[in-house]
């Protein structure tokens, strides 16, 4: 077994730098930001190296402290988590870069603590992804969650309450997960995923295992905000500070989805959730309802960020639906959607942050004329919105395509219809935003006066010159543009991503 250091570097570097940031912050505040970027960059590079190793050598194993599993903790990285780790670390880096100006403005003097929590959050998420041990996963889950509660609580009015609400839900979820771990430990005496997957097939009829499974599912469903356990999400992500909502909104839920796939496919044998108990059926229904519920409630929102929150619930529904189809295409769609949705949601939340940073409106109805003020940001908004709607060649279309194929393969026509109709809901949602931002010209009082003074023929000049271009600073704009470019290129490269990575992330007999 070749033991490369990257699986542990990806965790240890941000973990240590989280505490270094606080210490450095006491001495020189301006160093905190570079230190954070440095540690996140190391994570990105490590995850790239890991992905490279996994692609060339197959699954990586790293034994912490050299203890052999199942006694010691083992990090196991196969195609699935190498893929998810890269998504998490890359998006975190981009959001980290963008946080600079927002943090400087919103938390003057406290930036060190903010960055510390930020990096801890990322550490937790990455830890969940790379570990091969169900209990260790719980530990990282709590690190990520507690950092998340703190980060959300420092947001605007209403944030402490939203965060408290989230904390209660999150803690219950974590407890359920932990109970699941405990039950499994009772029957198998092991916490190592690979070990569990060897031991569990013989114990499928055990009531304890069934209970463990149920606890796992409920606990993870809370964490990934799967309907009907999503209630904490809209408030928490609406009131969170912009850099936080664009970090936790796309990533926490996606990592939750990863854990679900991991538990269903690796820890338990895949046939367990499809054939032995009707978990796949349940997932399909919950996913389908989540998709429609999320879309319809999003329609009712006037606040852009809150609308995105409900869209996110719908997107989680897609992933659950894909897993619930229980076939190769459906699962490919679900895993691909982890990437696609992570990208487009991060981009959209960051755009909301950029608009807020420039003192722009929160309400969609007041988006008028934004494209003249922030043309590049709005172009990115259009691209990621098209992706959520599922218009090719943006990436969102491709995951939807696999999901539809999965539905057709398993002859679940009802859910195929749900998938297709949800595209239309999303189209209404986002074209409403685009229409507001692009079409109705911005009319404020000054302009009204100007219009009254000038004849109609010269209106054009007022419109094109009246509103100054006023984009967010480069640290925010560039990450937005990178992600928007990603939305487009990931779509076109999805064939490669599926054939080289995701294909191997799904068990061969599936």
């Amino acid at each position: 077994m070749i033991s490369s250091p990257f699986p542990v570097l990806i965790i240890v570097v941000p973990l240590i730098s989280a505490f270094l940031i606080v210490i450095v912050g006491l001495i020189k505040k301006s160093l905190c930001y570079p230190l954070m970027i440095l540690s996140l960059s190391v994570s990105v590079l490590s995850s790239l190296a890991i992905l490279n190793d996994v692609l060339s050598q197959g699954t990586l194993h790293y034994r912490l402290g050299g203890w052999p599993p199942p006694w010691g903790i083992e990090y196991v990285i196969d195609h699935l988590n190498a893929f998810v780790a890269l998504i998490v670390s890359a998006i975190s880096l981009l959001i980290g870069i963008s946080s600079k100006r927002m943090v400087e403005r919103d938390f003057p003097g406290k930036s060190a603590y903010f960055y510390c929590l930020f990096v801890l959050q990322v550490t937790g998420l990455l830890g969940i992804v790379v570990t091969g041990d169900v209990f260790n996963l719980y530990v990282f889950l709590e690190i990520a969650s507690i950092a998340g509660y703190a980060l959300i609580a420092v947001g605007e009015d209403g944030a402490p309450f939203a965060s408290f609400n989230y904390m209660i839900y999150g803690t219950i979820g974590a407890c359920f997960y932990l109970l699941g771990v405990g039950y499994l430990y009772i029957v198998t005496g092991s916490l190592n995923m690979a070990d569990l997957s060897r031991l569990l097939p013989g114990l499928q009829s055990s009531k304890v295992v069934l209970m463990a499974f149920a606890f796992f599912m409920v606990g993870i469903a809370v964490k990934m905000a799967l309907f009907p356990l999503h209630v904490w999400l809209p408030d928490a992500y609406t009131y969170a500070p912009s850099p936080v909502s664009s970090l936790v909104a796309p990533l926490t839920t996606k990592v939750g989805a990863y854990v679900m796939i991991r538990i269903l496919l690796t820890v338990f044998p895949p046939s367990f959730f499809i054939e032995t108990i009707p978990a796949a059926l349940l997932l399909r229904w919950l996913g389908g309802v989540a998709v429609l519920f999320g879309c319809i409630l999003a329609l009712a929102q006037t606040d852009f960020k809150r609308m995105l929150g409900y869209v996110l619930i719908a997107e989680i529904g897609y992933i659950a639906l894909g897993i619930g189809f229980g076939n190769r295409n459906g699962l490919t769609g679900a895993i691909l959607h982890i990437l696609n949705d992570g990208l487009m949601m991060a981009c959209l939340f960051l755009i909301a942050g950029a608009i807020a940073y420039k003192g722009g409106p929160r309400k969609v109805a007041r988006f008028t004329g934004l494209h003249r003020k922030m043309p590049l940001t709005m172009a990115a908004l259009v691209l990621s919105a098209l992706s959520v709607v599922g218009i090719p060649p943006t990436c969102g279309f491709f995951s939807k395509w696999y999901l539809v194929l999965g539905g057709i393969d398993s002859r679940q026509w009802l859910f195929v219809a749900v998938l297709l109709i949800s595209s239309l809901f999303n189209a209404i949602l986002f074209f409403r935003v685009i229409e507001k931002a692009y079409f109705k010209p911005a009319i404020d009082e000054q302009e009204m006066n100007q219009k009254a003074l000038h004849p109609a023929g010269e209106q054009r000049d007022i419109l094109s010159n009246g509103v100054k271009i006023d984009e967010a600073p480069l640290t925010i704009l560039v990450p937005i543009l990178i992600m928007a470019a990603g939305v487009l290129s990931v779509g076109l490269l999805s064939g490669k991503i599926v054939s080289e990575i995701i294909q191997f992330a799904i068990p061969a007999n599936f």
């Binding site: 218009i391 539809v404 393969d409 595209s423 692009y438 109705k440 023929g457 094109s464 064939g495 054939s499």
Partner: protein
């Protein structure tokens, strides 16, 4: 069939994408340069497309595969006779429209012209992509690019009416697209491929019932774009768009793309053999006939000139589909040829309507009395094109009507012969009065003193398209061999070569 690998199709596509970007970055400040990009792109594109004609006429296919999207399906461009036919038409008329739209947009002092020309170039990109797509999936990608890039053009005026027109447009077309995704998914899960094949590739897959259902979802999906009744309602509403948009997109690129896709499905996905085996051709033909007659009658009731033209468009699109669904050699040839024939004639009509609007701000048929005296060239072109649509020789419309009539006889379906003739009568009924009133009635109210044509930017494209519709009527193979290519399409899909 010989296959040539070449980047030409890719180049033709890239031209308009690059032009779109250049237009965006040039912006309103240097508008002459910006319009220069449009025109240059149109020109270059046309020449690239035309340069592929000789090879295709020889029976070769030009291919260009990019990345693989998923097993069995790549992003692939494949120029066959049918695709080239549509591409030639679209790029040829883009040249005319780009000249015309400069005159129109400046004449009406329109706002956001950069967005207009950007989206226009992007729409052409989509149309050409549809033409060159080698499989359903690639086709769908560009189909959606076309749908989305046309939306800002429909809503361009940003008035309440324009915005709601744009919404309706999106609602119809995205719903159609959703059905296409479903149909594509079913097709892929049945066959594991989406590559077009002359004569179809679905034969022998799936049960008859499923295939019938699949055909219905395909036709409903693509039919929305082709404005097949009862899915036509967006088209008259979308006429709030500036006239160049109505002209190129709603007479050539968008709706023709819809028809093109329906024909691709009929001829290259299902194939004539399978369709006649399932008795689907005749059902679609009946369906299309209803659209033909009904839209002709509805056109009579429209007072808004552009709305009347829109219903005439619906009528002609259905004629094309009718031709293809008869599945006989002449009918297919006629249907395919009508894509071009109708394109040239209808664009002339729209151009004329736009010139009248720019000059006089008149939009209603009832207000056009005596306008032929002040705008003789425009109205003469209008008259030529209108008579051509009715199928009067020597205009190009006659060729298609004749070939289609032959086709319906070949298919042994005399009923459709009467449908075609009835539609010709309806054409006369709704265009005749316009021609009569504009030339032979005295203008009421506002007088048009003497000769008062629109700017040359507009008059030249109008006259050129009118002349072309006569020339193509006399020499159907003039310049770019439209008729030969259409015949080739019929041959290659019926498997007689």
């Amino acid at each position: 069939m010989e296959i040539i690998t070449s980047v030409k199709p890719l180049l033709a596509l890239a031209v308009s994408a690059i032009a779109a970007m250049l237009i965006l970055f040039t912006g309103e400040r240097q508008r002459n340069l910006r319009e220069g990009w449009t025109f240059m792109a149109a020109l270059v594109k046309f020449f690239i497309v035309v340069s592929m004609i000789p090879a295709v006429l020889d029976g070769k296919v030009i291919e260009c595969s990019l990345i693989q999207l998923f097993p069995g399906v790549s992003l692939q461009f494949r120029v066959d006779a049918f695709g080239l036919f549509f591409a030639t038409l679209a790029s040829c008329l883009w040249m005319a429209t780009s000249v015309y739209s400069i005159g129109y947009m400046r004449g009406t002092h329109s706002t956001s012209q950069t967005r207009f020309f950007f989206c226009f170039a992007l729409a052409l990109h989509g149309a050409l992509g549809i033409a060159f797509a080698g499989n359903l999936f690639t086709l769908f990608i560009f189909y959606e690019i076309l749908t989305v890039s046309t939306f800002p053009l429909v809503s361009h005026k940003e008035t309440g009416e324009a915005i709601s027109g744009g919404r309706k447009y999106l609602a119809y077309l995205l719903s159609g697209a959703v059905l296409v995704i479903l149909s594509m998914g079913i097709t892929y899960s049945l066959t594991g491929t989406l590559d077009f094949k002359g004569g179809g590739f679905l034969q022998g897959h799936g049960s008859d019932g499923l295939l019938r259902l699949l055909f219905a979802t395909f036709v409903l999906g693509f039919g929305t774009k082709a404005a097949l009744m009862p899915l036509h309602e967006w088209l008259p509403t979308a006429m709030v768009a500036p006239t160049p948009v109505s002209a190129l997109l709603h007479a050539v690129a968008v709706v023709k793309a819809g028809v093109f896709c329906v024909l691709r499905v009929i001829l290259y996905v299902f194939g004539p053999d399978l369709l006649s085996g399932l008795h689907l051709g005749i059902i679609l033909a009946i369906f299309a006939s209803f659209t033909v007659l009904l839209s002709g009658m509805l056109a009579l009731a429209q007072d808004n000139l552009k709305r009347r033209l829109a219903f005439s468009t619906i009528n002609n699109l259905a004629i094309i589909i009718l031709g293809a669904s008869l599945l006989s050699p002449s009918a297919i040839t006629g249907g395919v040829f009508h894509i071009a024939a109708h394109g040239f004639m209808k664009i002339t009509l729209f151009f004329a309507a736009g010139a009248i609007y720019v000059k006089t701000h008149l939009e209603k048929v009832s207000e056009l009395d005596g306008i032929g005296k002040s705008m003789p060239v425009t109205m003469a072109s209008f008259a030529i094109a209108a008579l051509g649509i009715a199928g009067i020789p020597p205009m190009v419309g006659f060729i298609t009507k004749w070939t289609l009539c032959l086709g319906s006889l070949e298919a042994g379906q005399i009923v459709f012969l009467f449908v075609l003739l009835g539609s010709a009568l309806l054409d006369i009924a709704y265009f005749g009065p316009i021609i009569y009133h504009s030339f032979f009635k005295k203008p009421v109210g506002k007088h048009h003193p003497g000769l008062d044509e629109a700017s040359l930017w507009m008059v030249i494209p109008i006259a050129a398209c009118a002349v072309l519709s006569v020339l193509l009527g006399i020499f159907p193979n003039a310049f770019v061999h439209f008729f030969d290519i259409a015949t080739l399409v019929a041959k290659s899909t019926l498997g007689t070569n």
